[in-house]
Every structure is written in structure tokens, then in C-alpha cells.
Amino acid sequence: MYAQMVKSTGERVKALDEMGPEERAFQERVDADIKIEPKDWMPEGYRKTLVRQIGQHAHSEIVGQLPEGNWITRAPTLDRKAILIAKVQDEAGHGLYLYCAAETLGVSRDEMTEELLSGKAKYSSIFNYPTLTWADIGAIGWLVDGAAIMNQVPLQRCSYGPYSRAMIRICKEESFHQRQGYDIMMRLCEGTAEQKEMAQDALNRFWQPALMMFGPSDKDSVHSAQSMAWKIKQNSNDELRQKFVDQTAPQAEYLGLNVPDPDLKWNEEKQGYDFSEPDWNEFYEVLKGNGPCNKERMEARQKAWNEGAWFRDGLMANAKKKKARRMAAE
């Protein structure tokens, strides 16, 4: 989701008796729900897949600051402004926790950042859509954070200790994010006709992109089986997407908004909603870099990084000077 298309490096899931003794011991620990810690032996594929997954997740938090941060200076009240700053700040914090978790696997944060900025590493497709009105801030909290939580709650049980612990902290801090988004939507839907129209328009634009957050359909998702065997992914994409629709459709109804899907219908038999697949061509285009805001998002991150280099280097230079002075005095 925040890591939508993580290429797993395991070619196929091996059976226990095909594994060497170390890998077998590793897999048995995973099966017994014992956490894997940084210095434990692990298959190279597990390490690499995790670096990609956690890296994508971290990049998504950092890039995810941009579409919402965009509205901080225009938030309509002092309270909304403060809440939005706090939320965007949380996203920076979550990016930080996740980078640190990935760093335990032997890759540095600066290396990961450079991979993001060169376009080599990916981030969630959802952040390549523009926030055009204040209602988009509500829709992002409600739908995007709603979808994120759905994915992140099971990741708290992920087999890799540092990732699991980061997810526990993130889930705890994020509990207000979805609620503040829904609260914005409620206020709009109780408001003037113009406000309600703004809310409907935001739902219309964010519904499909939110569904895409769970990644391609299971039948096209080639990397899931190994990740699930390693317990770095707990549920299939379609399972989570279904759960999301089942949770969200009644919430839209409560707001008096229409989900932009003529085929959305309660299915008594499966005890869930039927709904249309999102436009997967659009999804792949956005992943390739052809979404409405890919270019702007990357430019903003490159600017922050490049124009901040003197600041990071200046502080390092000062720390080195201080250390040298201390040594000279001793």
C-alpha cells in the first residue's frame, strides 16, 4: 500500500525441506512468530525485500507531507491550521522511524534518499494526485489514512522486529489522522451547498486512487506469496481492498455523499460490497512517473535536499571543529 509494488527477491516459496539448516531455522522462527532482529541470520532475499518495502513506506511518508502541507498556509481556521501542521509533522516523524528501521538492515538514510531522488526507489501512487480544495484535506485524512491504517495495523505483527516496533508507534500516533479527516468532511456536509459540493468532488477524485493504494489485484500481484511466507505482508491486496470498501461505503452514506461507482452494491451472500476495479492503466502510468503531480513532488524533494546540503554540512563542520577543540584542550 504505502509499499505497493515491492519486488520480492525470492523466486518462489521454498518448502522447509528444500532449505539449508540456517534458512530452515530462520523460517521456523518466523512460523513460530518469533521476531527476527537485525543481527540474526536472514536470507539475502528477506533483507533486500524488507529494505525495499520499508524504504518505499518511508519515502511515502516523506512525499506524503507535500499534498497536505500545501494547505497549511491556507487552512481556514487557526485550529485547522494547527491540526494540519501536527498531522504533516507526524508524517515526517513516521518517515524518520521507518528510515531508522531500514537502517538496521545495513543501508543508510542518505543512500535511501538518493535512491528516491534519482527515481530508482518508489513511493505510493496516491501522493501524485493534487489537492485542489480544502475538501481534499478531509478526503485524504478519511480515505488515504483510512486505507493506510488498514494496511499498517497488521504490519505491527510483521516478522522483522524493528519494522514491527516502528509500526506499533506509528499506528498509535496515527489514530487521530483518519478522524480529523472525517471531521472535516462532516463539517463540509453540514455546511452550505457549495461546501457539500466541494466534499463530493473530493470523494469523486480520491475514491479510485484510494482503492489503488492496496496495489494490483491478487491475480496480477506476483510478489505476494514469498512476502506472506516471510510474514512481511499479512493480507492480500484484494482482501484489504474489500475490507476498506466495506468500511468506507457506509461512512460515505452517513455523510450523504455518493461513492463514484455505479456498481457499488451490498452483496448479502458474501457479506460485503461489490465494487468496480479501479483503472489499472492509470495506476501503472502513475507508478511510471506519469501521474498528475509526480514531477512536482520529486522537484520539491530534490529542492529540499539540494538546497539543504549547506545546512547539513555546516552543522557537521561545526561538530568536527568542536570535537577537535575539545581534544586539543584535553
Partner: protein
């Protein structure tokens, strides 16, 4: 009766000056969210912005109460025009590069903190209460911005140069913070606010020692640029308000 009205008017001005400084600076640094040079710095700066927006609510809340026309802090923030804003020119200066943002922050914090310390013993309890809470926050802001000024001033050749450029550009705005007008005189006489001249002395002394440690040279004799406290702003403020107030202006009366 006239005396009471006059009292309220001066106090109202004080609340606006304190509140507008916090609001405009909070608005400015809020724009860094997601764009700072390191994620740790992004988070730290957002904390400062959050504190300032919180302080805005208290000061403008008090201003609305003193005015007695039923205007809320939000009304004052989002529905006043530029000429009615009372912030100092310093805080409306553009973010520029990160050096300008940090220098503006330090020049403000180094005044803000002693000002709030003094306001804690205001003869007006409402003022003292707000200062009590805000002072703790401002102390931390100052600790942080002062530390960064010293480190970057005495860091690499480039960081030194950038900090010096920012200091040259922004120092002329520092003097307004402690330049007293008739309103300040009136408030000081009634012990509602401190003698700004005294605050200014302490302010300049701390700037002097910080810049010395940072190996920076302030243009001490530069002419002071002022007027914001009396509503004579730079052209920057109009753009800040156009962005900040846009929603409240575009959808009059809507609830958000």
C-alpha cells in the same frame, strides 16, 4: 469613563501585537513543513509553528474579549485587513533560504523570550497568564535557534557566509521590536507591560554575545526599519494575508 476606554485600547493593541507576531511568524514557518533540509529539522520547526499558532489563539482571543465586539481569534486572524495588523516587520519577511528563516527566528526569539518573562509579572492577570505559558515555549525556541546560529555561523565557509548574508539583511528589522511608542509608554507606566527600552538592552546584549560566538558581525549601525506595530507594513504582508485569509474571504460565513 474615558480613562477605562483608553486602558482597554492600549491593552487591545498589546494583545494584537503579541498575537500578530505569533500568527505571522507561525504562518511563515508553517510553509517549511515538508521542505526543511533534514527530517529532524522539519519536525522541530513544526513544533515551533504549533506553539506560535497556540499562542496566537490566546493573544487574539484576549484581544477579541477586550474589544468587546464579539470577534473571535479566528475573526481577527482571517478577517482583518493589512492595515489593522500589528506585527513587527521582521516576522513578515520572506522565508528566503534556510539561513534567513533561522536568522529571523533567532532575532525574534531573543526578544520574545525576555519580553514574555517580563509580561509574566504584568499587572493584568490575563496577560500574565498567557505569558506564563508562552514563556516556557519561547525559552525552548530561543535555546534552539541560538544554538543553530552559533553552529552555522561557526560551521563551514558556506554556512558562515549564508548566515552573515541573512544577518545583514534582517538585522535592520530588529530595532522595531524594542522601539517604544506612546502605547508602550502607557502600558509600561501602568505596569501592564515592561519598559521596552530595558528589554532592548538585554536583547542587544544577548545578540552581541551570540554573534560573537557565531563569528558573525551584525551591522549595528544600520538604520532601523519599522512601522508594522502601527500598521505600516512591508508589501509582504498583503501576500501573506491573501493566502492565509483566502478561504474565509471566498466563502463568507461558512463553518470549517
Amino acid at each position: 469613563m474615558t480613562a477605562t476606554v483608553k486602558t482597554d485600547a492600549a491593552l487591545f493593541e498589546l494583545a494584537l501585537r503579541m498575537g500578530d507576531n505569533a500568527l505571522i511568524l507561525g504562518q511563515r514557518i508553517g510553509a517549511w513543513c515538508g521542505h526543511a533540509p533534514a527530517v529532524e529539522e522539519d519536525i522541530a520547526l513544526a513544533n515551533v509553528a504549533l506553539d506560535l499558532i497556540g499562542q496566537t489563539k490566546m493573544w487574539l482571543g484576549l484581544a477579541g474579549e477586550l474589544e468587546g465586539k464579539g470577534r473571535s481569534a479566528d475573526d481577527l486572524a482571517f478577517l482583518r485587513d493589512a492595515r489593522a495588523f500589528r506585527n513587527a516587520l521582521l516576522v513578515e519577511q520572506p522565508n528566503g533560504d534556510f539561513a534567513h528563516t533561522l536568522m529571523r527566528q533567532y532575532l525574534f526569539d531573543a526578544w520574545h523570550h525576555p519580553m514574555l518573562v517580563a509580561l509574566k509579572s504584568s499587572a493584568d492577570k490575563r496577560v500574565a497568564d498567557i505569558a506564563e505559558k508562552a514563556e516556557k515555549e519561547a525559552r525552548y525556541h530561543l535555546e534552539r535557534s541560538e544554538d543553530l546560529i552559533v553552529r552555522l555561523g561557526d560551521g563551514s565557509a558556506e554556512s558562515h557566509e549564508r548566515m552573515q548574508t541573512a544577518l545583514d539583511a534582517l538585522y535592520p528589522f530588529a530595532g522595531e521590536l524594542y522601539a517604544a511608542d506612546a502605547i508602550d509608554g502607557d502600558l509600561a507606566a501602568r505596569r501592564i507591560a515592561p519598559d521596552l527600552g530595558e528589554v532592548g538592552k538585554r536583547y542587544l546584549a544577548s545578540l552581541k554575545s551570540t554573534f560573537e560566538e557565531a563569528t558573525l558581525k551584525a551591522p549595528w549601525d544600520a538604520a532601523t526599519r519599522k512601522g508594522g506595530k502601527q500598521g505600516m507594513h512591508s508589501e509582504e504582508l498583503g501576500y501573506i494575508l491573501a493566502e492565509m485569509q483566502w478561504m474565509q474571504r471566498a466563502y463568507p460565513g461558512a463553518k470549517w
